[in-house]
Amino acid sequence: MRETVKLISMEGFEFVIDREAAMVSQTIRSMLTSPGGFSESKDGVVTFPDISTTILEKICQYFYWSLQYSRGKETEFHIEPELTLELMMAANYLHT
């Protein structure tokens, strides 16, 4: 099993993050674990044509923050107000 996965943004930026972190998103988790050999689970690469680089970066930060939070490290996750709307849409999409 691969340790890392690659997330690609609308603009083509690639984020390589831990598989464990990516799995914070239920949607990504399904993509990586669903049976039947979808391309995502085979290659470990997920492309998001609707998510901008800025947002995807924030999302990746959130994944790591969430992991730590769930392990008991209670810090705050800062969100710039101007990103809020897009971020929430992405969250809905990713079921995070």
Binding site: Q26, T27, S30, M31, S34, P35, G36, G37, F38, S39, E40, S41, K42, V46, T47, F48, P49, D50, Y62, S66, E76, F77, H78, I79, P81, T84, L85, L87, M88, M89, A91, Y93, H95, T96
Partner: protein, 732 residues
């Protein structure tokens, strides 16, 4: 994002962009539909999950959830219809395999479809309360495949066929079987029950009905039970391998009903191999099997128990009423003990120590032991025999075992007071003749009797032991104060308390001068230390050791009774004596004298005196002289010992009468005790209470109780009520 920070923002309803392209929904759906086809054709490797998910997401977001949902159902239904045709086309044995294969494919596809439609599952279905994708997919499979008319019956028949094959010994593909059955279970409990379990149970019931009939015609009981047990384990095994665990109880109860419950009576009563036969032949395995099988069905154990009880009572009745067998009391009791051991073992090894069976055993024994009125006497004789000689050289633990067993029989006795009477007699003889083997064993039995029946029951028996002990001390004191008596004959006196010992009328006789002098000395010694007492000599109960020298100088020590000693001592001063002379000199009552002369003169090998004329019986005209030619291998010769024996008929009557006589005061005491606390009581209740109170000792006879009540009325303890004659009133 599940971040608490979010709460800081005011969230306004989000306005979606209006979709301009009217064909947007159709186009998107086509993409998804194609993907579903690909998934079903196992051609999904090129697909992008993200793309499909995004499309489904967008459709739902743009309010096309309904379209997506119905579309997914329609597409899947179409696929399943196609598949069911393929399954149906499969020939013979491959039918199940095909079904299983398609089921697995469907499951996998369903999972994938569920994943890409996840957003719909989460939002659209949630809000419209429609069935979720996965259960929907299972229902579709059920309706289009399993319930497809051409598959439905065929599938069931195939499965039942396979089970049938396995029952007749063929090997089937259990793995496949398990998968298919698992499919039923996955489709829901009701599908499993209606489409498989119920018909399966019906078919099994039919199968076992036929088979059990076949078996019972051809097998004996033991074999039948073996087969039934095998079938039962097979079915349990089958459930473990490929059925729902919940089916176990159902299928086993089918087997139990068809193979056991329906044939119970016939099995138990089967000639030459049924329960009675097993009991007689100690067939522990078969009995154990019967127990474990029959306990599964209602009334099974009751049936077994009833038959066993009936057999036990019948057997016991024969045993105790057979006049042949009651000739030897020891043998008689031994047989009872053997039977008891036998059934104890059966119950412990085969019937799992079942309490209800033990109770049945006990009540049966209680029933038949009391059928023979002499049982109490025989049990006491058995103990007597054991304590006299039987226990020699046996370890203490074993002694306890034997005694415990006897106590068990004792517990069954209804007339415990009769036993007490006999036991007292036998114990007295044992103690006085010094024949008891082990003091410990004697005492241990007394303790057992005490725990069983209370202090009252044994106080006199214990009194007897105390007397023996005190007598020893008294004798030491006697010889201590008369040192001059160390020469000459030794007298050993056992002082018995009147009342503690079974009373026998004291038979007087003239003791030889040597002895009577000693007796007088002892009397004055004893009365000197214990004033106000009365001593009388029970010469009929004593023994004596005397030394005798015969014609050619043979020296022997003779162990004889007191009477015999009196007779023999006469020959010190005379060579020849007639019967009359002996009678005059000794004053022994005629019957005792005859018996004692008989044992001295007529027993071969022990005839220390001779008589004329030679005959077996003693006549009043006979004369006696010393047998000079007497020889014996032993230095010590024992003559005419008094051994406890089975009572003769008149003796028995007498004892019986004594027992009845003894019961009277006990019944009266019970009546008074009860009336004292109740003050007023009617006749029937009084009888019931008295019977209950006396139960531990004996079974009181109602007519006897009535007589006692009347006697008490006469003596003004009670009175009849003036208005209701059935009522008794206690008079203080």
């Amino acid at each position: 994002m599940s971040n608490q920070k979010k709460r800081n923002f005011q969230i306004e309803a989000f306005k979606h962009r209006v979709v301009v392209d009217p064909k947007y929904a159709d186009k998107t759906w086509q993409i998804l539909e194609r993907a579903i086809h690909q998934i079903y054709n196992q051609d999904a490797s090129g697909l992008s999950f993200e793309e499909l998910y995004r499309n489904a997401y967008n459709m739902v977001l743009h309010k096309f959830g309904e379209k997506l949902y119905t579309g997914f159902i329609a597409t899947m239904t179409a696929h399943l219809k196609e598949k069911s045709k393929l399954i149906e086309a499969a020939q013979g044995g491959s039918f199940l395999e095909e079904l299983n294969k398609k089921w697995n494919e469907h499951n996998k596809a369903l999972e994938m479809i569920r994943d890409i439609l996840m957003y719909m599952d989460r939002t659209y279905i949630e809000s419209t309360k429609k069935p979720h994708v996965h259960p929907m997919g299972l229902s579709l499979w059920r309706d289009n495949v399993v319930h497809f008319p051409k598959i439905h019956a065929r599938l069931l028949n195939t499965l039942l066929d396979l089970v049938q094959k396995e029952r007749t010994g063929e090997v089937i593909d259990r793995g496949l079987m398990r998968n298919v059955i698992k499919m039923f279970m996955d489709l829901g409990e009701s599908v499993y029950q209606d489409d498989f379990e119920k018909p399966f149970l019906e078919a099994s019931s039919e199968f076992y009905k036929v088979e059990s009939q076949e078996f019972i015609e051809s097998c004996d009981c033991g074999d039948y039970l073996k087969k039934a047990e095998k079938r039962l384990t097979e079915e349990i095994d089958r459930v473990a391998h490929y059925l729902d665990a919940k089916s176990e109880d159902k299928i086993t109860s089918v087997v139990e009903k068809e193979m056991i419950a329906n044939h119970m009576q016939r099995l138990v009563h089967m000639e030459n191999s049924g329960l009675v036969n097993m009991l007689l032949n100690d067939k522990y395995d078969d009995l154990g099997r019967m127990y474990s099988l029959f306990r599964r069905v209602t009334n099974g154990l009751v049936t077994v128990r009833d038959v066993m009880t009936l057999h036990l009572r019948e057997m016991g009745k024969q045993l105790v009423t057979d006049p042949e067998k009651s000739k030897d009391p020891v043998e008689f009791v031994q047989r009872l003990l053997d039977e008891r051991d036998k059934y104890d073992k059966i119950i412990s090894t085969a019937f799992g120590n079942d309490k209800t069976f033990q109770n049945a055993l006990n009540s049966s024994f209680e029933y038949f032991i009391n059928l023979n009125a002499r049982s109490p006497e025989f049990i006491s004789l058995f103990v007597d025999d054991k304590l006299r000689k039987g226990l020699k050289g046996i370890a203490e633990v074993d002694v306890e075992v034997v005694l415990d067993k006897v106590m068990m029989l004792f517990r069954y006795l209804q007339e415990k007071d009769v036993f007490e009477k006999y036991y007292k007699q036998h114990l007295a003889k044992r103690l006085l003749s010094g024949k008891t083997v082990s003091d410990d064993a004697e005492r241990s039995l007394i303790v057992k009797l005490k725990t069983e029946c209370g202090y009252q029951f044994t106080s006199k028996l214990e009194g007897m032991f105390t007397d023996m002990k005190t007598s020893e001390d008294t004798m030491r004191g006697f010889y201590g104060s008369h040192p001059e008596l160390s020469e000459g004959p030794t007298l050993i006196v056992q002082v018995l308390t009147t009342g503690s010992w079974p009373t026998q009328p004291a038979v007087p006789c003239n003791l030889p001068a040597e002895v009577s002098v000693l007796c007088e000395k002892f009397r004055s010694f004893y009365l000197g230390t214990h004033t106000g007492r009365r001593l009388s000599w029970q010469t009929n109960m004593g023994t004596a050791d005397i030394k005798a020298v015969f014609g050619k100088g043979q020296k022997h020590e003779l162990n004889v009774s007191t009477f015999q000693m009196c007779v023999l001592m006469l020959f010190n001063n005379a060579d020849r004596l007639s019967y009359k002379e002996i009678e005059q000199a000794t004053e022994i009552p005629a019957s005792d004298l005859k018996r004692c002369l008989q044992s001295l003169a007529c027993v071969k090998g022990k005839n220390v005196i001779k008589k004329e004329p030679m005959s077996k019986d003693i006549g009043e005209e006979d004369s006696f002289f010393v047998n000079d030619k007497f020889t014996s291998k032993f230095y010590k010769v024992k003559i005419g010992t008094v051994v406890a024996q089975k009572e003769t008929e008149p003796e028995k009557q007498e004892t019986r009468q004594r027992v009845e006589e003894d019961r009277k005061p006990q019944i009266e005491a019970a009546i008074v005790r009860i009336m004292k606390s109740r003050k007023i009581l009617d006749h029937n209740n009084i009888i019931a209470e008295v019977t209950k109170q006396l139960q531990p000792r004996f079974l009181a006879n109602p007519t006897e109780i009535k007589k006692r009540i009347e006697s008490l009325i006469e003596r003004d303890f009670l009175e009849r009520d003036n208005t209701d004659r059935k009522l008794y009133r206690y008079l203080a």
